[in-house]
């Protein structure tokens, strides 16, 4: 009710303000950083439970639980510890290698997985800030990958130039595919969530068609729905030599993170983006062209997400690609953007974390036979927990910060006799 707001505003505070120390403690305990960390911990715990439950060794041991209960507990510990230690060793540092140079290789894998996640997450975050929900990462990546890839294998240009042209083509492709969404939103009010979901499928079928059609994307002389390898001139160069799996894309991603930070917090365009995202009506009345902002934001968002596709095609798998080139990054980017709270550096670190999960997930699958799908479970749980701070606070018995909306009580309030 509108009147309450005014009431709350105009009635003076009659309760003494809490002491400064209390406020500080409250901010740390209830602040978003600790919620983020606790969410990750909670999700990992749930993941561990799942791993334990499906482990046949635990099942075997629990068969004689009452005879030797410690066996069961031991098996459970081995199961969870084994999984997460192989995850760590696959993502950060492998202690089984003789020297640092070899031991640190998993971390470069993480960086390699993180680069497209970060840049796609930046794209989703950019759309978030203007109030749009870009679920179209898959489509934008596929189109960008196709454009960059086509230039990459079909053209014959000098080094550097070829790479630049291929990246530019990919950026244009992603931007156009995202821009369609912005255009439809601006011109007709079409809901971007629906349009982006639908465009994902349109892009998928379009690329599938092109991949199996000779003269378009299909490699000459092949019957497989796959392209020819990328011309070496257009491949993103290795960053740390050929023994590490990290390419120049990482540098581009860091540069783009800085660029996005500048756009959002230091530029006039970003100011207008944020105004539209927070209150499109007021923005419109203030002379900001809301429809253009939607289009610009989706162009940039599509371009950034497209960059992830470009890195995949020109960096990660330059040997030619098929329709699975997006590798689920388009959807992972949503969780990355949410975990990073749509702030550029938040997205950067969220992308690193999820990159580590991916790198470690594959190692875990290889070493312990635990399906990589567990990573999806952990990622989605992290985002769910982060989105509902009151739940996390309730689970860890943390105080609720002042001014934070409380969870809604679903039932009728309990009647209490109120006395004077």
């Amino acid at each position: 009710m509108s009147d309450n707001k005014a009431t709350a505003d105009s009635v003076e505070t009659k309760i003494a303000p809490p002491s400064r120390w209390n406020v500080a403690l409250n901010e740390i305990l209830s602040g978003s950083i600790i919620i983020s960390i606790l969410s990750v911990v909670l999700a990992l715990v749930v993941g561990a439970i799942l791993i334990i439950v499906v482990d046949p060794k635990v099942a075997t041991a629990s068969g004689y639980f009452f005879a030797r209960p410690l066996d069961t507990l031991g098996a459970m510990w081995n199961s969870a510890f084994g999984a997460y230690s192989s995850l760590f060793q696959g993502a950060i540092y492998n202690f089984q290698r003789p020297d640092f140079a070899a031991g640190i290789r998993p971390f470069t894998e993480t960086l390699n997985f993180a680069a497209p996640l970060i840049v796609a997450g930046l794209g989703v975050a950019m759309a978030f800030r203007v109030g749009l929900f870009n679920i179209g990462g898959r489509g934008q990546m596929l189109i960008a990958a196709a454009c960059a890839g086509y230039v990459g294998f079909a053209f014959d240009l000098p080094p550097v130039v070829h790479l630049v042209v291929a990246i530019a083509a990919g950026l244009a492709g992603g931007a156009v595919w995202g821009g369609i969404v912005g255009l439809l939103k601006a011109r007709t009010g079409a809901h971007e969530v629906i349009v982006t979901i639908m465009l994902n499928y349109v892009a998928f079928y379009l690329i599938s068609y092109m991949l199996r059609t000779p003269g378009l994307l299909q490699a000459p002389g092949s019957n497989n729905p796959k392209t020819a390898p990328i011309n070496p001139n257009a491949v993103l160069p290795d960053l740390l030599g050929s023994s590490y799996n990290v390419n120049f894309g990482l540098i581009l991603v860091i540069a783009l993170t800085v660029l996005v930070w500048w756009i959002l917090s230091r530029s006039s365009l970003g100011f207008q983006f944020r105004a539209v995202g927070e209150n499109p009506n007021a923005a419109r009345v203030a002379g900001i062209r809301v429809d253009r902002m939607y289009i610009y934001a989706m162009l940039i968002s599509g371009g950034l997400v497209g960059m992830a596709g470009i890195i995949q095609v020109l960096g990660t798998v330059p040997s030619g690609f098929s329709s699975g080139i997006d590798a689920g990054i388009g959807f992972d980017a949503i969780t990355v953007a949410l975990l990073g709270r749509a702030r550029p550096w938040g997205v950067f670190f969220a992308g690193l974390l999820f990159g580590a999960f991916k790198a470690g997930g594959f190692a875990m699958q290889a070493a312990e036979g635990i399906p990589i799908d567990i990573v999806l479970v952990v990622q989605s749980l992290i985002v769910l927990f982060i989105a509902a701070p009151p739940l996390v606070r309730a689970l860890f018995r943390l105080p609720t910060p002042v001014g934070e909306p409380k969870p809604v009580s679903l039932r009728k309030p309990k009647l209490k006799a109120v006395a004077r």
Binding site: L184, V377, P407
Partner: protein
């Protein structure tokens, strides 16, 4: 300050005037012309003229209207391709002209004209595409219905959820959860019926999470939906890879539902075998669509549900518990979508596969929007989408002139066109997607 305008005495005697009294200034209404329908018609008419007429092929297309096992046999129909193409192209041009005329008169193009246009275009397309081939019409329809069933269940779940004010992007997750759990439970218990109930419970469980996070914790409904889809996909894939594949004979070989032909009805030519020689899930679908369509408008449940989705505060002020109404109806929506999931494993495929719903939930969502949140329209939209998908596989068999990918794209493109407002104004429930915070 000056005196009151009118004294109480003369105000009491003043008759209550109807709103539009004889005032000098009358609020007029001016119709705004909409060219969307005629322009869309013109595009397709031009396409038809080029394809069916100018690029038309000589020969005939054969349409078989009954199968060998049918009681009543109908002769097949041969259509001369070029002549049919010319007739249909002309008819489409005529309808387009009519639509332009209506727009000039500032009148909208009625929906039945759109329907006739669509059917004509389809017949023309099939005749053109099937030159020299034979198309089994009941088979085409049967396949279309089969592909539509999960979409219809998903769409009904979507409609209930959205009409009560909670955007349901998690239909995909509800379908997938239903498919997984029904396969598992039916395999273990040996009963498809128990599997069906379990599927409903699974869909409901997904809904519980959606409802708790969006209603209680006020998390953006679309975000919860999107994340839930990922969660269910991850969970089912993980359990499938780690458990089901190792024990597929015990855990992933559910019994399937039997076909139950309904006497008499199943003997109706063309449609009988399609509609009434089906499994229990399909009959359940008929009942659910009918009940939802009726109850949403005519019953207390429907009135309250819609009031909460349109104006939750108004509902609250007359004593309706907005949160509980939303919570339980979202759960109901999940249960219905769960049945659609069971159809994948107990009705068609016969076992669970990783990510087997493959985006059906999103097409169901498209059907909800294309059907403007109305059960019957959504049913038709789902049937249309199922038809398009099945047409693609039929055309692949007879040697399609159109790449199959473009047929598969159709539902998605149609939906984009719909939300962009080219098929009338699409208006969702007013409070859908907005969390309700008291006061």
């Amino acid at each position: 300050m000056s005196a009151p305008v009118v004294t109480p005495e003369n105000s009491a005697s003043m008759p209550v005037q109807p709103a539009a009294s004889s005032n000098v200034i009358v609020r007029e209404k001016e119709a705004i012309r909409s060219w969307k329908a005629p322009i869309s018609f013109a595009v397709f008419a031009a396409l038809a003229t080029v394809l069916f007429w100018i690029l038309g092929k000589d020969g005939t297309s054969n349409f078989r209207l009954s199968t060998d096992t049918d009681l009543i046999q109908i002769n097949s129909v041969d259509l001369p391709a070029l002549a049919t193409g010319i007739v249909i192209s002309l008819a489409l041009i005529l309808i387009t002209a009519l639509s332009f005329w209506l727009s000039l008169q500032k009148r909208p193009t009625p929906i039945w004209i759109v329907a006739i246009y669509g059917v004509l275009f389809m017949v023309g397309f099939l005749t053109w595409a099937g030159v020299g081939e034979s198309i089994l019409v009941p088979g085409l329809l049967l396949g279309a219905l089969g592909l539509s069933i999960p979409l219809i269940f998903g769409a009904m779940g979507g409609i209930i959820s959205e009409r009560v004010g909670v955007v349901n992007v998690a239909i995909e997750g509800q379908l997938l959860a239903g498919a997984f759990v029904s396969a598992l439970v039916a395999s273990v218990t040996g009963s498809a019926y128990v599997g069906l109930v379990a599927a409903m419970a699974a869909g409901m469980l997904v809904s519980f999470v959606l409802a708790t996070f969006s209603i209680k914790y006020l998390v953006d409904q679309v975000i919860v939906g999107v994340v839930l889809n990922v969660l269910v996909l991850g969970l089912t894939s993980f359990l499938y890879s780690s458990v089901l594949t190792q024990h597929s004979s015990e855990l992933n070989s559910p019994p399937r539902f039997d076909f139950i032909p309904i006497p008499l009805l199943s003997e109706i030519p063309i449609l009988g075998p399609v509609l009434f020689r089906q499994t229990i899930i399909v009959y359940l679908m008929y009942i659910i669509v009918a009940v939802v369509a009726y109850a949403l408008v005519k019953t207390k449940w429907g009135l309250r549900l819609r009031s909460v989705g349109e104006h939750p505060q108004a509902a609250d002020t007359v004593g309706i518990n907005v949160y509980m109404t939303r919570f339980w109806n979202v759960s109901l929506a999940g249960a219905i979508a769960g049945i659609g999931g069971a159809y994948f494993t107990l009705g068609s495929v016969g076992s669970f596969q990783k990510d087997m719903t493959a985006g059906a939930g999103f097409i169901a969502l498209a059907a909800v929007i294309f059907g403007r949140w109305d059960p019957i329209r959504a049913l038709l939209a789902a049937l249309l989408f199922g038809f398009a998908t099945n047409l693609q596989s039929v055309l692949a068999i007879i040697g399609s002139p159109v790449p199959s990918e473009f047929m598969l794209m159709l539902p998605y493109i149609v939906t984009i066109i719909a939300v962009a407002g080219f098929v009338g104004k699409v208006r969702g429930p007013a409070a859908s997607g907005k969390p309700y915070i008291k006061g």
